[in-house]
């Protein structure tokens, strides 16, 4: 990492779920939470705004959303104001873009907002929007949405490596249990057992309802600043210690593998190389568990365990608190819901909350110093990673 250091110094979230609130109201809730947490922050100091939003045109019939969000938050950014779109990774894209602007010296104080309003009066319309994430005239037209795509990944992983539906259900059980200590989670205080999860209806076999993250309404906001400004806002920032991204092609015919995500492997190696850290240095990870099988493949391709043994990694408790790498203490996308643009922001807020010991003991990773955040997007053909280090 070269250039100016960048710190994540504050964050706030709306409650995630099926919300009686509009796109703009969710943005306001997240902004209010951010300003409430940072009394030293004045709107006039924010020089840049990045808005992570995957599909406001289709979900909220609204484009040009960055200036709209600025108005809702009372900001008048004069350095950079823009939206970032990368489907399920739109939120992290906002943070990466703010990071790049600050590291380059273009911005000093930037807000990254992430938001999605996914629950519509007609869920078929919402599902139509999900089907245009993939190559619409060739794959979407055939009925390709996320569940059947990740179901095929699960089917192949089961065939090639012997992964079981019970191992997948254990990912869901873990993340839902964590979500029980997170009042912003869609499934806060919703209790599940392994037996109950394995009896939920099939959505796209072999994936059941409990294997799939939800269509969720939610928003989040974080503040990023240049290194010399960090102490103005907090004694314990989260320093951005690395970031990486890698891509495979888009049409499903041009994906090299369903069970080994090459782009994730390459992004992970780049992150480890540039940060000088390795999988063994990660105190906890917020991984993109859009489906249970995703988290299992991510353990493998990030090097937490050998290829094919992701099922055993969860079974043996290695991703629980006290395991080799605790994964998704926030509750994950499975437990918190997955408002596309907001997810990456909420994961970053969890990192800061963990570093600042603001989370309840049920999900606290004691003494955490290094955290990884991962998002995939589309057909797992793009992977985005961030590494944070606790500041003292």
């Amino acid at each position: 990492m070269s250039g100016r250091r960048v710190a994540l110094v504050g964050g706030g979230l709306s409650v995630f779920g099926v919300r009686a609130a509009t796109w703009g109201e969710l943005v306001q809730e997240a902004g209010r939470a951010l300003f409430a947490r940072l009394p030293e922050l004045a709107g006039k100091d924010v020089d840049s705004l990045f808005v992570g939003a995957a599909q406001p045109e289709r979900f909220a019939f609204q484009s040009h959303v960055a200036p709209l969000a600025a108005e809702l938050l009372g900001l008048r950014p004069w350095k950079v104001v823009q939206r970032t779109e990368l489907a399920c990774a739109s939120g992290q894209s906002a943070i990466r873009s703010a990071y790049a602007a600050i590291a380059a010296g273009l911005s000093d104080v930037a807000v990254a907002v992430g938001v999605e309003k996914m629950n519509l009066p007609s869920m078929a319309e919402a599902n139509t929007s999900m089907a245009d994430v993939l190559d619409r005239p060739w794959d979407g037209v055939q009925g390709a949405t996320a569940p059947p795509f990740f179901a095929m990944c699960a089917q192949r992983h089961m065939k090639e490596f012997g992964t079981t539906p019970e191992q997948m259900a254990r990912v869901s059980l873990k993340n839902h249990a964590f979500a029980n200590s997170n009042p912003t989670a869609q499934f806060y205080e919703k209790r599940f057992t392994l037996e109950k999860l394995q009896k939920l209806p099939m959505v796209a076999p072999p994936l059941r309802l409990g294997d799939c993250s939800s269509m969720t309404d939610g928003a989040g906001a974080v503040l990023l600043v240049g290194e010399e400004l960090a102490r103005r806002y907090t004694d314990t920032p989260a320093w951005i210690a690395g970031t990486a991204q890698s891509t495979d092609f888009h049409n499903l015919a041009n994906l090299p593998s369903l069970t080994e995500w090459g782009a994730l492997r390459r992004a992970g190696q780049e992150l480890y190389r540039t940060s000088g850290l390795g999988p063994g240095d990660i105190d906890f990870a917020e991984l993109h568990d859009c489906f249970t099988i995703s988290e299992i493949i991510e353990y493998e391709d990030l090097g937490f365990c050998p290829k094919g043994s992701g099922g055993r990694f969860i079974e043996e408790g290695e991703s629980e608190l006290g395991g080799r790498v605790p994964v998704n203490p926030r509750g994950g996308l499975l437990g918190c819901g997955h408002p596309l643009g907001a997810t990456g922001i909420a994961q970053a807020v969890e990192v800061l909350d963990q570093f600042q010991s603001r989370v309840p003991p049920a999900r606290r990773v004691a003494g955490a110093e290094v955290a990884m955040v991962h998002n995939l997007s589309g057909s797992a053909n793009v992977h985005s990673l961030m590494l944070y280090r606790r500041g003292n």
Binding site: A124, N127, G140, A151, Q155, A204
Partner: protein
Amino acid sequence: MAATASSPAQRPEVSSTQEARTGASPPQGAGGEPPQRTPFLLDFYPLEDAHHTRISRFFDELRAGRFVTTWCPRDQKLLWPPRVVCPDCHGEDLSWKELPRSGHLYAFSAVLAGAPLGMESQVPFVVGLVELQGVPLRIFSRIAPATYDRLEIGDPVELETYPVPGDRVFFRFRPTSPR
């Protein structure tokens, strides 16, 4: 002057007015039923005729029962979906090549819930990645008619075409050895 990479070797068809494009026949149901107009931004199917795309040949061949895609002679490479420029060498001199109509299931699932607009009435439906016979291509497709529980990885499938409202055509794969 020699053509440079930034000047197209072949000038594509350009209409000076939007009216020229609307000469295409209006959307109409395949069975002669009253025209069914899906709003463009909710219509999954591409506009297939030469007024709207430079790969209308793909759909013309499909209508005649042939499954084709583009081939880059310079890279000796099949390009799927059909392209007007090779993404590898950026050449425009692509040719059409016929693809096998048969293949087998590499992976598959079924949509039991959460279908997009226009597909709700088809639920449950099976989708899968079809590995074509003898060519290095796995194409995502609807698998029909099919029941998820009766399929296995490796099952043989065969291409078939079907009409789409608006005088259009598309393809899917049908299992050839029903269990």
